[in-house]
Subunit: 311 residues, 4 copies
């Protein structure tokens, strides 16, 4: 059995050193280090990695890191909600988001045209910019084809963007599909609807994208899930891998708890009852807010993998 | 200012009495009573009510209560995730779910063909029964039409079911649309995909359903949201009402917290920065698990509304 | 295995009916009903019941309910933190607390002499009244004796109060000891300190109270814990029963989670590793805010026990 | 307003670099960086620093880090619960704790004499060793004096230990008082009780320690609180500084939430209504498990302070 070790600071410590220290300290630090080990193992074993996140994470500066991870071949499939798509595009067009605070005067913000996401702020102008962009590209997409699966359409958009830090751009460049099972649940959906009003033969085919999800891996391949937060993004990754025999590796990072029975709080342990994760799988659940836990774990994993020449 | 009142038990108290007592006791009891007041006000003012819930709630016995609420005209629009649809159908076909426990042996459950959702259990047989049903009805739907919006398809299925306690059945009977923005994120999606393999002209049109969502209310109508849990269901109700000027009433019941910036934990206060909820709206956030908080609040609201002849 | 049953409302339902309904509905409702069963069993089996709560609960209207429970012989030992003592005394002197809201302007409240506890408010005047009372009674206590254990001192104070809804009053009247292991952690401590400055031989003997805790039950007696919230109150009840062989029954109601390793979030399952709760014990953990969960469960338990003639 | 910046990994990043990156990324990362700024400011301004933690943190490897912080003059006053004292002593005597897991078989652990604290394990032997030690030192303490305040007694014990990584040892060496307002709430309390049975004139004077708490700082001095977790330790620091005019700086790191009205979840914002924290104070609340958040923030603060020659 591993012994609990006292943590000690020395000047200028590296992230990897810190992670190792908290890995034998206790509680979630221990689980976080297990997450690092699970992620490095996924990569070493050549598993297909499904990375999922919720749209608030794309509101935050994790957005550029997700793009970097795709570039580094640390994600083979990306699954998210439509807010991520919208905000990635806004940022790719140069829009900037701001840091506010949790106890802001919300009525006052509304009057100033600021929209709050926790302690972050998005201006109305960013949505207007997004609208203009959608009005520009939808006709182009329509010209090419009348019927798109979601991931196909997102790939086309990614190819039109020109921002190294964009999730859509990197995904398109690196042949990583982006699945977004609830594509209409946001401003994106509204613009699709407006366009379809005048172009009834324009079809967004979510069922076809299910085929793409299934064929994104095979029974024979090893599969790993890194699910940040919950919701349909997490569930879709679980579903996609389950249909190919279940995941071999799974890291869930979440602030939700299992007592409500929600999928967002469902643990990797529960997943085994469904065969979602193989009985023998390496599986870790870390409770904590991902703007802290994910960079900490992933920076360490990247340091280790880089050392081994794997990225 | 309201005074904190000591609670006292007497024999055989009614739910409504309990709710009033905890309403001037403190903490979440106070918020729960505000939720009752907000819900009764929605109904009195003739607001269009958007009821949203996550699929684990349909796994639980809340499913029959949701059906009853639709029958009682307490929900004009229903929004949920696809697990709810699947499990409502399973139950309508006579499948039974069981109560287990949170610390079950998950590998053992998997071997026995039991799937765990918190402290509830679903047998593999229930999924097989669902599969058989889908294989039976999809050709019938296809015969009628080739292109369906999601809510239209769910309505057709509801009309074919024969269970007073079914959400789909009551929704269909009472002309209440059910929106499910991520319709493919479950077994339902898999069966749609299988069917489409041989019927390429079969289309599930999610964009058209956005039109249905927008036209489900108007700028002039009062609108209320009752969001149980978070995720796309909650977000979709907010979006649908926002596009018609924002909600006049909102009750959020959730176990999530705002510190992560997730939509699931977003409060009614934050919603005001977006105009999602009008600045002047009655809006309440109750933190707690809905299998307890929702029946407690809603039974009380129904008692009050029934007394007033409104249901 | 128990089957999940659909919940249905009918007019004028009783609390006990609601509780039974949610008891076979799912998630925390199931656990809450188990808590009812565990509590009724404690009483039927004649167990010594240790009731613990944190001081915010005495700020709320649960205070009068705790007093009622003592009167009904539903608590044989009470353990809490010193804020509960202070606020029980304030209320016994006629002070009233008010309901505010979580997102109040705290600087503004401070200027108005209002102190916030979640969504409750205590005026500075209540503390001044408490101070005057302490200055009045400490000399009286000193006259009688120079060295007090904490529970002994609280009993003396209880005998001097005259309020049926007071925890201290009912405890004193019914020979129920109140333990408060951190008696100096509040205004009470400050007044003890002021008094001791001029009366060096005045001693509050916390070690002697440990004897009282141990002798509050025996190895042979059955013992039950009802712990509301966490902290030293919960821990002290566990410790007191552990030293007499461990509890036979335990109900933990809390908003804390086990992932932090804190005692507040520690489950009844973890307690078994310590022998704090017997391996065979009936033990239930309910996650939720107690201003809702506790009255709901306890009112039901009282209805059942009253039916059986046990209270 | 600060702009949200995309995070980017590069090889071998330092903790301080990571912290700065997440500080302009969003959500709790932003708050964590504010915590770093608040801590460094406390030190720069020469504030008296009150460090509080709960006993599970001393079970973990944070124990050695707390000792190091005392040595580095980063804590002028320490407040904790008695479990910390006991476990610090056990470790000082060479006992080792182990890493287990949250879903362990607790009945099995009990049979093996292992006690679980989240995912950590303490053997029965460690408690036996502690007992032997207490039986050895209590007579020595008694020989010297008959009446001790708690902090005085802990100082005496610290002087007898010989472990650089011990909290008690470093506190004694560096004249840092350790307050433990509920000194009897643990095995320590039991041993005090056993000793007092035969030495009735042996007195642990908690009221006198209140004087020590008050005199641990003055109205004129700047005061800062670093509260890890909640409970009496956090409350006692707030109380001690409040009596001297309120804190100028406060960092609360916790997993608890304010919705329950508990002190553990009370925010620095609420504290302003009480004057616990000055209206103008720098105050930060970080939600997250401290085995991750605290080393991350404190290592960074130490790097910065070391750079400035302040430690």
């Amino acid at each position: 059995m591993t012994i609990v070790k006292d943590i000690e600071w020395h000047k200028g410590m590296k992230v990897t050193e810190l992670l190792k220290a908290i890995g034998s300290c206790g509680f979630q630090g221990v689980e976080l280090f297990k997450a690092v080990e699970c992620i490095t193992k996924m990569k070493r074993e050549g598993a297909k990695i499904y990375l999922t996140f919720t749209s608030n994470m794309a509101t935050s500066g994790l957005r550029g890191f997700f793009a970097q991870l795709i570039k580094l071949k640390m994600a083979d499939v990306v699954i998210t909600t439509v807010g991520s798509i919208e905000e990635d595009i806004m940022k790719a067009m140069g829009e900037e988001f701001h840091i506010g605070n949790y106890s802001a005067d919300d009525v006052g913000l509304h009057e100033k045209g600021m929209n709050r996401v926790g302690n972050l702020l998005i201006r109305n102008e960013s949505y207007e910019r997004f609208e203009a962009y959608m009005q520009e590209i939808l006709p182009k997409l329509y010209e090419k084809k009348k019927r798109y699966s979601v991931s196909e359409m997102l790939r086309e958009i990614g190819l039109m963007l020109n921002d190294e830090k964009s999730i859509l751009y990197q995904a398109a460049k690196n042949n990583v599909p982006i699945f977004c099972p609830a594509i209409t649940d946001g401003a994106f959906g509204f613009h699709l609807f407006m366009f379809q009003q005048d172009h009834k033969d324009f079809i967004v085919d979510v069922v076809e994208d299910f085929a793409n999800l299934i064929f994104s891996s095979s029974h024979d391949e090893k599969k790993g899930i890194i699910a940040l937060g919950g919701g349909v993004a997490k569930h879709h990754a679980i579903l996609g891998t389950l249909l190919n025999g279940g995941a071999d590796y799974a890291v869930y990072m979440t602030t939700a708890h299992e007592y409500s029975g929600s999928l967002s709080g469902a643990t990797t342990r529960e997943a085994k009852s469904w065969g979602k994760i193989k009985d023998s799988a390496d599986a870790v659940t870390v409770i904590g807010e991902v703007s802290i836990t994910f960079p900490l774990a992933m920076f360490t994993a990247l340091d280790i993998l880089s050392e081994e020449g794997l990225i």
